[in-house]
């Protein structure tokens, strides 16, 4: 059945409701709502959330935005917490202590801080143990909840409060970690990288596959942050589109080890198009700093070309 955005929205009520306190122009609630919509209406979900923007904005006692069951324990352990709930489900179902005709799906959400950094061990453990769960990283490229500190997902040269663009050091001096590839290295059945673009087709379909593929699956979703990135709130979708069109954030999936790039821009835009609208890269456009843009472009090209090769290699008979 072909994807139809209108049908999805009409037929599937939001499971992440209004009233949450995420910022206007934030990418995270947009992707969260869409991922939760990918659940079959008849299925129940247990959501585990790492501490972060999303958790502190969606479940402030005594209010919650989640219509499914939800658990937050701490920053670094959404993977482990979710795996425990999934183990309980397996055990209770096996013992006949839960209705046999009812399905519960397990989804963990974490920001890049709770996933790339402090929660990487917990995530890796949960994936390796083979729990039937999806881990979703909403990657906004820094610790936004505590006020825009650099993470290992922060792009090269970005200005953050712990990698400030100063007189001597021009922003974050390290390139970003490729978490999606680390997850591919776990040899789990489904890994995908996506973002909210145009009619959400890429995001929705990947979420659906991730949720309904048996075993551990992983989604890395770009989720721009207007405060941390420095763009006007209304430009969220434009920033997303530029991330895909410059191949800064390639959209692809790896199904049982086979790569498939799900979006190849007709015209790959130069990286300046993605960098220029964001204040965190402003210093890169000062005269004399052309080398920074050049280096950034080279890194993007290198990773994109590697991905093209991986797609080719893994699909050879």
């Amino acid at each position: 059945m072909a994807y139809d955005l209108k049908k999805v929205i009409v037929e599937k009520p939001s499971r992440f409701t209004e009233g949450h306190r995420m910022c206007a122009g934030c990418g995270a609630p947009v992707v969260t709502r869409m991922i939760m919509r990918a659940l079959k209406p008849e299925d129940h979900a247990v959501v585990a959330n790492a501490t972060g923007c999303m958790e502190v904005s969606s479940f402030i006692y005594p209010y919650t935005s989640w219509t499914d069951s939800f658990i937050h324990t701490a920053f670094e352990c959404a993977g482990a917490t979710c795996s425990g709930a999934e183990a309980a489900y397996k055990s209770l179902k096996k013992q006949g202590k839960l209705p046999q005709d009812k399905n519960t799906k397990f989804i963990a959400f974490g920001g890049d801080g709770g996933t790339y950094d402090i929660g990487l061990q917990s995530l890796s453990g949960a994936m390796e143990r083979g729990h039937d769960m999806v881990y979703v990283c909403y990657d906004n490229g820094a610790y936004m909840n505590t006020g825009i500190q650099r993470s290992s997902a922060t792009p090269h040269f970005a200005d953050t409060t712990t990698s400030p663009a100063g007189k001597v050091i021009p922003g974050k001096m390290q390139v970003r970690k490729d978490l999606t590839e680390i997850m591919v290295g776990h040899h789990i059945p489904y890994v995908a990288q996506t973002l909210a673009m145009t009619n959400f087709k890429d995001l929705y379909e990947k979420a659906e596959k991730a949720i309904y593929t048996e075993g551990p699956t992983f989604l890395n979703v770009l989720a721009p942050c207007p405060r941390g990135w420095g763009y006007p709130t209304e430009d969220l979708m434009m920033i997303n589109k530029l991330a895909a069109d410059t191949c800064y954030w390639p959209l692809y999936e790896v199904v049982d080890g086979k790569y498939k790039i799900t979006y190849k821009p007709a015209k790959k835009l130069p990286i300046e198009e993605f960098l220029r609208p964001q204040k965190r890269f402003k210093h890169m456009f000062k005269p004399g700093n052309e080398w920074m843009i050049k280096e950034f472009q080279e890194e993007v090209d290198k990773r994109w070309n590697e991905l093209l090769k991986l797609e080719q290699i893994t699909n050879q008979e």
Partner: protein, 396 residues
Amino acid sequence: MSIRERLSGNEATAIAMKQINPDVVAAFPITPSTEIPQYFSTFVANGEVDTEFVAVESEHSAMSATIGAEAAGARAMTATSANGLSLMWEMIYIASSLRLPIVMALVNRAVSGPLNIHNDHSDAMGVRDAGWIMLFSENNQEAYDNMLMAHKIAENKNVLLPLMVCQDGFITSHSIENIELESDEEVKKFIGTYKPEHYLLNDKEPIAVGPLDLQAFLFEHKAQQAEAMKNAKQVIKEVSEEFEKWTGRKYEFFEKYMLDDAEIAIVCMNSTAGTTKAVVNKLRENGIKAGLLKIRMYRPFPVDEVAEALSHLKAVAILDKADSLNGAGGALFEDVTSSMYVNKKQVPMVNYVYGIGGRDTTEAQIESVYEDLQKIASSGDIGNPYRYLGLRREEN
């Protein structure tokens, strides 16, 4: 009818867990508690339990997964020691704040550093204010019995708090002793099935667990936890009485050994009580009125009962197997002396920090404490209340 066996403390604990047949066990190996998940995973591998065993990649994840499982509606258990508990520390507080009746076996060992794998109580003392019920066990029988009583206490509607059963690393965990086991059916009957009121896997009533809890509510929520801990006292009493009716083995908040007519006494926990009993017997033969108070229920602390039980003594020594490094005595010493003070009981009391890092505690050492107590009792002079027992150092 009880079954006579010979088991180590770890084996006894693993067998109790097998009989409890929890829905989920998540654990990570650490000496000296490693054998517990080892034995238990054998039960899982042989289909002797219904449990999902989650072989996590760290103790932080062990407690996180246990929390996830218990919140989901399962009976979930784990076991650890020392640094494993330290790594769990963040989650220990979260487990109790979520009011999850998780049961954990804590095989006591010295917390680093420097690294040491042997017994003291520094791990347990580090979480004494974390909102967990803490039961201590003198020997393998008590470790087994406390474990059988654990769920009935923790899961009580007026309690709903996590509970840890402590035993001494190696001294108890690895020593084989005679033990009386109960039958699987009897254990099952005693514990009953777990029926949580609210749980994540109930699709008819989705719940949200673990909020951001700000100035408007956190204070009241913490007070509710404190109230539950107070309620636990009565529940522990009732469950212990029920247990006694079933097995004939009597448990109270603490054990009084030759205490009622004693003039001098030691207060201690876990295996040292065994050594102390042997010394008390010897002293009694020589007409010395020595006694012992062995704490079983450390959290909640039986403030009034302890004060009452010690009020008639002429001198008391409190033995702490963990140094609080604060210039004001060990944790048990503070608890006991505070209990006395609020109950307006004035008895000379001294503190001994002993057995750190698995240093052997001998009968001769315990005897020397009673000798000190006799001097204090006759002179009324406490001298330095903060003492060491068995510490090797330059004469001063």
